[in-house]
Symmetry: C2
Amino acid sequence: MRKIAVGLLGLGNVGAGVVKLLEDNAEAIGHRLGGASIDLRRVVVRELKKPRLVDIDPALLTTDPSKVISDPEIKIVIELVGGETEARRFVLEAIAAGKHVVTANKALLATHGDELFAAAAKRGVDLYYEASVGGGVPIIRALREGLASDRIDELIGIVNGTSNFLLTAMTEEGRPFDEVLKEAQAKGYAEADPSLDVDGVDAAHKLCVLVPLCFGTSIKLEDVLVDGLRHLTPTDLHFSDRFGYVIKSLVIAKDHGDSLEARVHPTMIPKRFLLASVSGVYNAIYVSSYALGHSLYYGRGAGMMPTAVAVISDLIEVSRNLLGSASGGAPLRLQAPALKRSSKRIRQAGELLSRYYLRFSVDDRPGVLGQLARVLGEQAISISEVVQERHAEGRPASVIMTTHVAKEQDMQAALALINALPVSAEPARLIRIYE
Amino acid sequence: MRKIAVGLLGLGNVGAGVVKLLEDNAEAIGHRLGGASIDLRRVVVRELKKPRLVDIDPALLTTDPSKVISDPEIKIVIELVGGETEARRFVLEAIAAGKHVVTANKALLATHGDELFAAAAKRGVDLYYEASVGGGVPIIRALREGLASDRIDELIGIVNGTSNFLLTAMTEEGRPFDEVLKEAQAKGYAEADPSLDVDGVDAAHKLCVLVPLCFGTSIKLEDVLVDGLRHLTPTDLHFSDRFGYVIKSLVIAKDHGDSLEARVHPTMIPKRFLLASVSGVYNAIYVSSYALGHSLYYGRGAGMMPTAVAVISDLIEVSRNLLGSASGGAPLRLQAPALKRSSKRIRQAGELLSRYYLRFSVDDRPGVLGQLARVLGEQAISISEVVQERHAEGRPASVIMTTHVAKEQDMQAALALINALPVSAEPARLIRIYE
């Protein structure tokens, strides 16, 4: 029986899940490999002696990455160390050594993807990354398979479980962001430093992984309009509900033919839209394509076991490629982003079009709405709906409105002008609307 | 460049989509095949001269199936003729001739799956069937990939687009079944003879395809509890809404360890459950598994292009297997249902447990509820909620109730007894509740 030697870099949460599933499902995996087996040869860890989430033979452990990367018998390296610098070096070294790589590292791919995919293509090895987006949701595979006989027009996703958990709690319980975040941190649902999650950076990394798969164009983090959750208030959630929307932190990528749009921000979506029902730590990705129409993929976006399932699905596919091509068959491997190359222009943030929800905190006296409307009108922004709310005597009033479709740069210009008006008590708040 | 010769049986809706996508996406498909190409060699049709949904070289057409099945150059046969008898013969002949087969035929697989998979395994050829369930939703692939490193506990799906379209219209517009069906037939959304769809048989066929994939146990149509839509009334939909449910026609398969449960019926599900938001002709399959947790796959369950995408995804995978193994590589092919073999007992309909919604039409006089409650109680059925509605003087009253979990055979016994009571004006109606 043929054995495929595998080396694992990193034995944290996901690494432990991989070890466990490889053991628990050895037989089923063998079936998928036509009788071959996965032989976990070495596991690189930072410390040898440390409590582990899984039982593992201590003889497999090493702190020396070269024990994996330089072992000629090891054919596939699984990178689960996280971070960018060290992971980049390990992956490049593994590729240079002719090893196939499976990774779950979206930050790495978002930042160094072009370099890594080019290196893998040049060396003729696989670089697979199902676990980098959506945890157990097989979105990379669905996009890659779909690409072969379809054309993707748009992708809209909830890809950060922490943000969705926080937003769900804020929506259902009407509580403010800070309070909900603290509770999530206490329960381990949010990191001590939550910025990657709540400021949209993690989601933007994932979007940078998805865009080349969907459209064949690579994209940099700085090309993405990114906005986070911190400025959302219970008032905004209340009005969102009243206007018939739910607020979700979405990644949106859209092909406009000559150019692409890519953005990450809290978004008001109609309650009847399927993504509106995706609650808690779940992820979901909604894809619109020429042949399939609309499709949606939903599941746990993170966590030890779901992510491990994704890693192992890649491991099986790379092994199948290896078993096929090693014997002189066709080169079944494939760098997914290389499938279709295009080099569409990425639209600048200022060019993007949206409907907007706006909330102004202004002096409570007649004529103020007129001032706001005039500034908006001068920036070609047309108002759809307005609600004025008066609070206690002497306190600022709230003016809440939704607009028709407007250009981001016009909106930003208008808000700067409005914030500078003497009647403005606090900076205006904006939430983009998607329909 | 290597060419893979393919023969197509049937050039209806889906066949035309396959021809179109093969042509439109030849380059992308070539990439997926490491430079090899798909060569559509022959298309078997019933009539040579007939308007087609796609432009096709008339020289490719033939009415003689042996031109495909006996052509030694053709490696893969796509069966899209539908039906059971002729399709079974074609598929068996193609397998006997050493050809790999891709089919979209759920009725064929539900009825003759064991025979066909056994024949394919014996002859060492692939039999793929992504398009048989869920149209463009890649559910077969998701289950097959998942199976390798996961264990499925339960599958709940909306897999008949016509039923879901009718139910959505009934729910949203409060109109009766007959009226909605007639309109759907006029628009081409329902067949002239709608029984396969509305009586649950098509969904049951699909469930028979899914169960072996999920649990490794094959199942026959007669093992499945099947109920259709015809008896649903606007009153039921109204009360469903009032009790906090939406009615969907679901397939449900569940692993109880020692035994399996498989059923197809209109089901009341909580409004917040993701499947409750799946409207119109869409399909969605919700899977609960050990490692992944909950996942959901959603998309167009039928139609020319979505189904063609599924057929081509299989064609690509079979071609990859062929390119790999033809050159002496590992046998990458795989009969999915053979992945894990188990032979769990299928629970009889009478053993199944559900909560129930019941609607009785009874004489409008005091003491009637007591009679109903007594019979139910004697059958060990406990009532959860009751509403009595009085109508015009002299007309029967409606008693609507939900029960706690009860056994199907007890419920059927109770309803038979109640229907025989002198106070019963019409047979009692039952809808099963899933939570």
